[in-house]
Amino acid sequence: MNLRLLQFKSLKSYIPLFSTIAVFFAIYAMGAVLYGLNFISLRVFLNLFLDNAFVGVIAVGMTFVIISGGIDLSVASVVAFVCILAAKLMEVYNMNPFIVMIISLGFGAVLGTTMGSIIYFFKVPDFLVTLVGMFLCRGLAYMVDVRSIPIRNETFVNLNTIAIRFPGGARLPLVAIVFIVVWFMGIYLAHFTRFGRNIYAVGGDEKSANLMGIPVARTKILVYTMSSTFAALGGLLYANYTLSGYAAAVLGLELDAIAAVVIGGTLLTGGVGFVEGTMIGVLILGLIQTLISFQGTLSSWWTKIIIGLLIFWFILLQRFLSRTPKK
C-alpha cells in the first residue's frame, strides 16, 4: 500500500508514518519477547481490532477533522448518546434494530452538519461549537436514561455471530470488520477522491484554497458531518460490543481518538496527516493495553502514562521534521 503512495508524495513526508509503524512493531516485539507466542497469536491480534473498533471508527472521522484544521470534541458524547438511545429504542420501545441504526446514523449526520454549518457560516471556533455538542449529547444521553440498559434484542445480539473464522478458533467479528472497512474507506477518501484532497487543501490554507476555487464551505461542513456520523456508527459498534447502553459510557474517548490521530502522524495545525497512521495509532493504544493486561500486576492507568509519553515523542519528532530549512 505504502509503496504505491510513494509515487505521488516525496519520501520525507512519510517519516512520521514510518516511525508510527516502527513503534507498533517495537511494542509488538516487546510483547513477544516478554510473553512469548501467546502474545503474538492471531487471536490476540484480531482482538485488537474488535476491542478498538469503536475508537478506530471515530479516529478516522477525527483524522479528517484535524487535517481540515479543526477539532471535534463531541464524538465521545455522541457515542454515549447513540448507544443509550439504541438500547432504549430496542428494549423499551421494541423497535427494529435496523431502523434504530438508521435513526442513529441520521442523528449523527444532522448533528455534524449543524455543527459544521455553525462553524463555517458564523465563524465560531470549532473548539467551542463541538464543546457545546459534547455537553448537549451527554446531557441528552442522561435524558434518555440515567441507568444502564442491557440489550437483549435477538437480531441485534445475533449480529455478533457474523464473523470471519480462522483456523485455531480465532475470529474476526462484524464489529471488527466494520472497523476495517471504514479504515479502507478513509484511505480511499484521503488519497483518491477530490473531496479528500480538498480537506487537505482547506487545512493547509483556507484562504488560498478559497481563491484556488476549492469548495471550502462544502468541504468544512461535510468533514463534521462525516465525523459525527462515524461517531454515531462508533456508538452502534460500542452498543453491540458491550450489549448495553449507558449514558456515562466512554468518558474522555474523544481524547483517545485525538491521541491516536497525533501518534499516527497527523499535524494538529492541519493540512498534513494520514488515515493509515491513525489506524496504527489506534492499534498501538490497544497493544499497550493488551501488554499491560498480559503483565497482570500493573494498574491499567499505566496505559495513559505510556500514551502520554508516546504523544510527547511524536510531537517532538514532528517539530524536528518541520524545522528543516525551507529555502
Binding site: F8, K9, R194, Y200, G204, M212, P215, K327
Partner: protein
Amino acid sequence: MNIITPVLQARNISKIFPGVIALNEVNFNLLPGEIHGLMGENGAGKSTLIKCLTGVYSPDEGDVIYCDNRVFFSSPLESSKAGISTVYQEVNLIPTLSVAENICAGRQPLKKGIINWTFINAHAKELLAMLDVDIDVSASLSEYSTAIQQMVAIARGLDLEARVLILDEPTSSLDEEEARKLFAVIRKLKNDGMGIIFISHFLDQVYEICDRLTVLRNGEYIGEYEIGELSKHELIIKMLGKDLAQFEYRSSKNTVNKKSDKKTFYRVKGLSKRNGVLPFDLDLREGEVLGLGGLLGSGRTEIARLLFGIDKPTTGNASVWGLSGFIKNPKQAVDKSFGFCPEDRKVEGLIPDLTIRENIILALQVKHGLFKYLSVKKQKEIADMYIKLLKIKTPSSEVSVSKLSGGNQQKVIVARWLAANPKFLILDEPTRGIDVGAKVEIQKMILEFKDQGMSILFISSELDEVVRCSDRIAVLRDRHKIAELCGDDISSSTIMYTIANANTNASANTNANVSVNCNSGGQNEAEVES
C-alpha cells in the same frame, strides 16, 4: 478595433467597503487576444476590481459582462469554471500540498472514480516545463523558494481551458530571466486568442508586454489607452495625479557624508549561520543607512535575521553599545531599541484580524512590558499620528488591517516599528510589491529618519533604491559579504560590477580590502583587523 467584442467587461462597477469607496463607477474592457495592463497606485482599486471580476467580492453597483452575458459570479470557483483563470498577487497556494497537487487542486483528473496521480504529476511537470522550471513536483510546495512558488502559481493559472487569464503582480518575486520566460508564454497564449490582464509595478515590463492600458486612481476610472499613445512619463502622471518633478527628491547624504562623527554602536565579527550566511563582519553606525546589495537569495534576509536575534549564529561574536555578546532573541533586540520590518508581510509581520491601531501599538507594548498598559486613547493618538505621517489610506485607525491594500499594510508595519521609536531599524524589502508613489514616500521617510539620528539597515532587490538611500552598502553574493562600498563608490554599476567580478573563494580578503579602503576617512575604525 472596436468591432471585436470584449471577452470580459466591467461596466460602471462600484464597490464600497465600510468607510472607503474602493471602486467608483469603473469601466474595463478586455478584448480577446490582447494583453491589457491594469495600472494604478496602491489602493487605486486594481486588486478590488480583479476580485469583483472573479467573484471574490460582489460589486455593489454595475455589471460584469463575460462573453456577451451579464454574469454574477458568487465565488472564484464559479469564475474559474467559466474560464477566468486568476493568479493572485500574494502566492495563494497550499504550502503543505505537493507542487503537482497545487497545480491540479480542485480539478484533479479522475480515472474510474480514483484520482489519477500519475497523470497529475506528468501534467504538472509539463506545465512547469513551459516556464522552464524543472523541479520535483511531488515535493511539498513549502520546500521551494518564493520565486518557484510564484512560478507554480502561474503554472496553475495556465492550466485551465481559460479564455481570460488574470496575472496580479506575477513578476514580483521573479528575476529577469524568469520573467522573460513568463512573457514568452503569455505572448503565446495571447496569440491563441486569450485575453490577459497584466498587473505590475514594473513599468518597463508593462511597456514590454502590454497592448493597452487601463488606469485607475483612488478607485476612480481615469482612462483606457493604447500603449503607444501614452509615454511612461504621462502614465505616471495619470496614475499619481501629480507631476513627476516631485520624484526628484535627493537625499542629504552627499552633504553629510563625514563618517568621522558617526559612532559604531553594533559591531559583529565573523558572524555566520550554517545554511544561512558565511562569516561576515559588519559595523552599524548611528545616523547612517547601511544598504545590503545583492541578488535574491544572496543572504540579505539571513543577515537581518541574525542581527535581530531571530536566528542563532553558528560562529562569530558581536558587541552592542559597548557590551559584547549576541542578541539572543527579538525581545532583547526590542529592549535595545531595535526594530525589524520583515520581508513577507503576510506571514511574518501583520496580524490581519487586528485593527490598524492594535497592529501599530504591538511593538510599543512589548517595549513597555505587559503590565504598563497604554490607554486606548493614547493608542489612538499614536495610531492617528502615524496614519497621517505615512499617509495610510483608511477611514479610521479602527479598521482591520486585512481590509487595507498591500502598500498600506506595508506602511502599517513600518509604523509599528517607528512607534517604538527605535534607534536601529531593519527594513527588509519595505517596498516590495508597492507602487512608485509609495516607494518614493518610503524612501523619503528612510532619509528623514536617518537625519533624525536613526540607524537603518535597508534591504531591497532594486539596486537603484539601495543606491539612492544608503550611505554605505555591503555587497553580497552567494551568501558571502564580498565588499563594502561607500561615498562615491556607491552606484548601481559598481555594485553590479562587484557582484559580477568578485572571486568567491577570495572573498574574505576582498572583504577586508574594501573595508579598509572604505574606512580610510573614518576615525574609530582603527581596530578593524586583517
